[in-house]
């Protein structure tokens, strides 16, 4: 299935020239077969991963995790604890790799930066009026600059879902572009908040819109809205990044976030990535998990493989 009929004919510049040309392009994308997408995601979820493949499938997601804390009561202490865990998820086993990044609110970036110095773990910050995105563009850019000045390596921005629903695609495009400009070389992840987008068609459109505007990553959710990440939604987004690379040559990453709690879930996502976008995406540079409790379950399953007995949560840090 390819969804880029008109991109080949019209250039990127023409597609993004105005609200109406963007609308023509986005609404010209083929519709998502809802039943088929859900059936395919469900079918892939039944894959059984064993032995060596399982060991790989337990190790890789650890390196893909954006260890996240986005609560109103987050303190510097909480962030410091989280960073310690990010550097060395399992203190009794130095073979466990560090996670990809720690994801926090902008005001806690400097603390995270301080705690992660020299570890190779990236600091990601949400920005642009997270989680609703209901601020003016100037405030959004300022919010982003704040995070960058404090030392963020990656920025997770939210799109204005209200603008999306009334069809002001160009406004969203401009906002993403402005934030990307502020980010420069830094990685920009664009949160679509798929739980609010209602249909898979909208998810596909929002994915393309974000990629056209310059997103380095497209991310499912803020974690504040239910449903958060689901397998079918991620399937649609993975198809979008695959087709986008085919059409433009630029590779964009995908980050499901929220609701992924067990190693089993994580393995299902990896199968989905491999079967949809391909093995090129099976890398922390191109696929991330926004999660916190997932890490402990991965560690427990890993320990179960190594010791041959079932692990218990009492022996892992509380988060």
């Amino acid at each position: 299935m390819t969804s880029t009929p008109c991109l080949a004919r019209a250039g990127l510049g023409e597609v993004t020239a105005s609200d109406s040309s963007l609308r023509r392009f986005l609404h010209g994308l083929p519709g998502v077969d809802e039943v088929a997408a859900e059936a395919r995601a469900a079918m892939l979820a039944t894959r059984s991963i064993k032995a060596d493949a399982k060991q790989f499938a337990l190790e890789l997601p650890i390196r893909m995790i954006d260890l996240t804390t986005l609560e109103g009561r987050d303190t510097t202490g909480k962030v410091a604890t989280l960073c310690a865990k990010a550097r060395q998820p399992e203190p009794s086993d130095p073979d466990v790799p560090p996670v990809a990044a720690v994801c926090v609110y902008p005001d806690l970036v400097s603390e995270a930066r301080r705690c992660l110095e020299g570890s190779g773990v990236k600091v990601a910050s949400v920005a642009t009026g997270f989680p609703s995105g209901r601020t003016s563009l100037a405030v959004k850019v300022h919010d982003t600059m704040d995070a960058i000045d404090a030392g963020a390596d990656e920025v997770d921005m939210v799109i204005d879902r209200a603008a999306f629903f009334v069809g002001r695609y160009r406004q969203i495009f401009d906002e993403i572009r402005a934030v990307k400009q502020a980010c420069g070389q830094l990685h920009l992840k664009v949160i679509l908040e798929t739980g609010e987008l209602a249909t898979y068609d909208n998810v596909r459109r929002a994915s393309w819109l974000a990629m056209l505007a310059g997103a380095d990553f497209i991310k499912t959710s803020t974690g504040k809205v239910s449903p958060a990440a689901t397998l079918p939604v991620t399937l649609v987004m993975l198809e979008a990044v695959r087709d986008f690379r085919d059409a433009t040559g630029r590779q964009v990453g995908v980050k499901p976030a929220g609701g992924i709690r067990t190693a089993k879930d994580a393995i299902r996502y990896l199968v989905l990535v491999n079967e949809t976008a391909g093995p090129d995406w099976l890398d922390p540079a191109w696929f991330r998990f926004g999660a916190s409790s997932l890490l402990n379950d991965l560690l427990m399953q890993r320990q179960r493989m190594h010791t041959g007995r079932y692990a218990g949560p009492d022996y892992f840090t509380v988060d």
Binding site: G308, R309, Y310, A311, G312, P313, D314, Y315
Partner: protein
């Protein structure tokens, strides 16, 4: 008129308030005391044991947080429902253990009474086992018994109902939750008991019942790091040492199998079975502030 065919029952596992088949899809043949076919029962795997522990852990905060009074009421309710199913249990005990009808009636009666007996202990054990300790300072000092957590029980092999109730009731009356590995060759009364538990007021996950091979499943429960105690009453002696060794890994409480074989369960309730799954918490509280 054609003769009616009986509808045979599918005996399943009891995990988290539901009745799943084994995730492995396996079953095994259960025979009566004269080796005649009785039924097919689900053959639990290690993954069923894992799921059962997860269910028991999930149920623990709610059950241990319930008032002692409430837990007592719930256990009493189990006895009420057992009474209503008396005849079914008598038949099952006869089939499983080969007892005479009269003897089986006594056994079922004793099983019902055992629930009542342990139900009564729910709000009394803290008074027997707890204490106000005299200390040399301006403090109140209390010791209170608390449930240890998830308890894995290898149920008695011979006494399929009375033996099972005698090891299960004292565990859950404290607020602990249980994963029971039923008698290997006589699992059917345990399966039927789980149907009673499911329709009484026992919250889902407080009792989980697995049927299968002791030798296959018990080691996974004994080694499980999220299990706090193992009752090896029904474990074969030759297996017990290994199970105890695995249990030592996370310092589980261990109740060894009786050295002189399975006891006669018709005696009195045993408070030590309740004490076995209790931890003591001591609280210091300043006086006069």
């Amino acid at each position: 008129m054609t003769e009616r065919l009986t509808v045979p029952k599918t005996h399943k596992l009891f995990i988290g308030g539901r009745f799943p088949r084994s995730e492995s899809g396996r079953s095994f043949i259960v025979t009566d005391s004269k080796r005649r076919f009785l039924a097919n029962a689900a053959l639990a795997s290690r993954k069923d044991a894992r799921d059962a522990v997860v269910a028991a852990r999930k149920a623990f905060p709610g059950w241990s947080g319930a008032t002692a009074y409430n837990r007592g009421q719930v256990l009493y309710r189990v006895a009420e429902l057992l009474e209503g199913r008396r005849r079914q249990f008598v038949d099952e005990v006869i089939a499983a253990e080969g007892l005479t009808s009269k003897h089986a009636q006594e056994v079922v009666g004793a099983s019902i009474d055992r629930w009542i007996s342990y139900a009564g202990w729910s709000d009394k054990i803290a008074q027997i086992d707890g204490a106000a300790n005299p200390v040399s300072g301006p403090y109140f000092d209390f010791s209170v018994p608390e449930p240890t957590g998830v308890v894995a029980i290898v149920a008695p092999q011979k006494s399929a109902l009375l033996g099972l109730v005698s090891v299960l009731a004292p565990v859950i009356v404290t607020g602990c939750t249980a994963v029971v590995l039923a008698s290997e060759s006589r699992p059917l009364p345990a399966v039927t008991l789980s149907e009673v538990l499911a329709t009484s007021d026992v919250p889902a996950g407080v009792v989980n019942v697995l049927s299968g091979h002791t030798e296959e499943v018990a080691p996974w429960l004994a080694a499980h790091m999220d299990v706090n105690a193992v009752d090896l009453t029904g474990a074969p002696i030759q297996l017990a040492a290994d199970l105890e060794r695995s249990a030592a890994e996370n310092l589980k409480r261990v109740l060894r199998p009786p050295v002189d074989g399975e006891p006669d369960w018709t005696g009195e309730s045993d408070v030590d079975r309740i004490r076995f799954v209790l931890e003591t918490k001591t609280v210091w509280h300043p006086i006069g502030i």
